[in-house]
């Protein structure tokens, strides 16, 4: 068990290292000239561009630039955001918590609905529920979340003359406003998340129902309900956690758009604003932070799986 733990930890660290290389390469190397890329939309002189190159350290070799950026980022997100003048560490500290809370709400809602529903829908006799689950899944995959969000805001405004609060409060500062703002994007994200989760839970439970142990359980006189939820459904839990971990990145990506619509000051909106302001160094650092979080959550899901399901300890 300890060895398997170490194995996954090492693999995640290596993956993070290569991801940092990839993000650096995409933003610094791909455009050819970063300074030109940042200044693309603004009229500028050659002197300003040279000054910017000097400021960003673009005249150093790429390896030096990469090492400097990675060092500054890993040793506490040093540096200042060019577009807002705020220290990057303060910026991330302010925004990351908000996004993580939103993602946490979304994943919790998704798990709370998708697991019981997916297990129940696996029963061959529940045709209507099965069709309903398929419909919810297809809509969640196909309909863009931000359009539903717009419809929702319009509907709430027209029908109840109610719109989400404009100012964000933390959950401990002013809970009712926090809740009123976060609940809608959380539900929308949960729907998209559940659209990936439901089919897995359902398929895994169906597969488990075909096992001889369910026949044995029925033969012992256990109720159909108990066989379904306690015996067959249990086998769907670990795949569900695994999918939740993998889809966490999707939830963060979805919150990019939803945070912008609802005016939630999270890292998604921060990233979009940095992109629109062409603050590429900030984009680079924020993407790296998000990738690190996503990898961390996937690792946590993996480790949880190791504890829940002994069989996974022996696969690489």
């Amino acid at each position: 068990m300890g060895r398997a733990f170490g194995h996954r930890l090492g693999a995640a660290a290596i993956q993070l290292f290569f991801a940092s290389l990839l993000v650096f390469a995409l933003i610094r190397v791909l455009p050819g000239d970063l300074a030109l890329s940042i200044l693309a939309d603004t009229p500028h002189t050659i002197e300003t561009r040279e000054a910017l190159r000097e400021e960003l350290g673009l005249n150093d070799p790429q390896v030096v630039q990469y090492a400097r950026w990675l060092w500054e980022t890993l040793t506490g997100l040093r540096g200042v955001a060019r577009s807002t003048g705020e220290p990057i560490r303060a910026l991330v500290a302010r925004q990351l918590g908000v996004t993580l809370l939103l993602a946490l709400y979304a994943v919790t809602i998704s798990l709370a609905f998708a697991i019981p529903l997916g297990i129940a829908a696996a029963h061959p006799k529940r045709r209507v529920l099965g069709a309903a689950v398929e419909g919810v899944t297809a809509l969640g995959l196909a309909v863009p979340g931000f359009w539903v969000a717009l419809l929702l805001i319009l509907g709430l405004l027209r029908l109840f003359a109610w719109s989400p609060p404009i100012i964000y409060f933390g959950p401990l500062e002013f809970f009712s406003d926090h809740f009123a703002l976060m609940i809608w994007p959380a539900i929308l994200l949960a729907w998209q998340h559940a659209a990936h989760l439901l089919p897995v839970v359902r398929a895994e439970t169906s597969r488990a129902l075909a096992n001889p142990f369910t026949v044995a359980a029925r033969a012992r006189g256990l109720s159909e309900r108990r066989v379904l939820y306690r015996h067959a459904g249990r086998l769907a839990l670990w795949p569900a956690i695994s999918v939740s971990g993998v889809q966490f990145g999707g939830a963060i990506a979805g919150s990019l758009v939803l945070e912008t619509i609802f005016g939630i000051p999270g890292i998604g909106r921060g990233l979009v604003n940095a992109a629109l302001a062409r603050d590429l160094p900030l984009v680079q650092t924020l993407v790296f932070v998000i990738v690190a979080i996503v990898l961390g959550v996937m690792l946590a899901a993996d480790l949880l799986g190791l504890m829940l399901d002994p069989r996974t300890r022996y696969t690489t």
């Binding site: 993956q15 993070l16 290569f18 991801a19 990839l22 993000v23 995409l26 933003i27 791909l30 455009p31 890329s37 398929e134 297809a138 809509l139 995959l141 196909a142 309909v143 863009p144 931000f146 359009w147 717009l150 419809l151 805001i153 319009l154 405004l157 990145g249 999707g250 963060i252 990506a253 979805g254 990019l256 758009v257 912008t260 619509i261 990233l271 979009v272 992109a275 629109l276 062409r278 590429l280 984009v283 993407v287 998000i290 990738v291 996503v294 990898l295 996937m298």
Partner: protein
């Protein structure tokens, strides 16, 4: 082989996507009959509600929303097709290469795919669009970079299950080369799965392109793109003229749903085999 009992069920799965396709076709033909221009502005006719002259109303510049929606769907589908082409070509090729060649190549391809998968595909697309610009081909390749590794991985995983089957061994024993085995034996066996994946890549590409445009990072105006129409509609005339936002979004949903259901139908056919 499709059994007789399973056939009506799989045909039924095509009914809804076919209907959605007909809806899009009808809206497009209607626009063709009306013959309006997607970028022509008529400022005296701005923000008119839906009527017989303007079935979906007009936007803030007095442009016909109906015609713009149809062009926008066309643009979305073109992006989806390009993304499918790029991601499908690269992903399926590398995935099958990994499964057929084996050894170090296999390891390398799968590791690189895993690495790319650690970055959420929407973030990957966002970075590339910022860096490469908003040319349709650039947007499609940005999206494809997110989907290709997923496809490569699933192609590889699907081929693992068939590459050691007896019909493949028999072909090898008969002296058939690896390329022919791939094209004649392995790919046909996985056709349903692969086509289903391509269809769902298409629907995800439509949604992501719209999201990029909605964030202001997509194709620049005046090209009619559904995401951009949603952006303009919701920023400025959301309360006063909701039709500017409602119709593009509805078409987006219809097109996306059609592709998701096509994927579902293709998958269903595969399960029956």
């Amino acid at each position: 082989m499709t059994s007789a009992a399973a056939r009506p069920l799989t045909t039924a799965r095509w009914v809804v996507p076919a209907m959605l396709g007909l809806v899009i076709l009808f809206v497009a033909l209607w626009a063709a009959v009306r013959g309006a221009d997607p970028v022509e502005q008529d400022i005296e006719q701005r923000l008119l509600p839906p009527s017989i002259d303007y079935p979906m109303g007009t936007d803030g510049f007095g442009r016909d929303v109906h015609t713009r929606v149809v062009w926008g769907v066309g643009y979305s589908l073109a992006i989806a097709a390009l993304t499918i082409l790029f991601a499908g070509g690269v992903g399926a090729l590398l995935g099958s290469l990994a499964a057929v060649v084996r050894g170090r190549t296999e390891y390398l391809i799968i590791r690189v795919a895993d690495l790319l998968l650690s970055i959420p595909s929407f973030l990957l697309a966002l970075i590339i669009v910022i860096v490469l610009g908003t040319h349709p081909a650039a947007i499609a390749s940005a999206l494809a970079l997110g989907f290709a590794p997923r496809l490569a991985r699933s192609t590889w995983a699907a081929m693992l299950t068939v590459r050691d089957e007896e019909f493949v061994l028999a072909a090898r024993a008969a002296g058939v080369g690896p390329a022919t085995i791939l094209l004649r034996h392995l790919l046909p066996a996985l056709k349903g799965t692969l086509l289903a994946q391509l269809a769902s890549i298409g629907s995800a590409a439509i949604a992501m392109e719209a999201a990029l445009s909605f964030l202001g990072l997509g194709v620049p105006p005046p090209t009619p793109s559904l995401g951009r129409m949603l952006l303009e509609g919701s920023r400025q005339y959301f309360e006063t003229a909701p039709w500017v936002t409602l119709f593009p979004g509805a078409m987006l949903a219809v097109a996306g749903l059609a592709l998701v259901l096509v994927a579902r139908a293709l998958e269903g056919r595969n399960l029956v085999n």
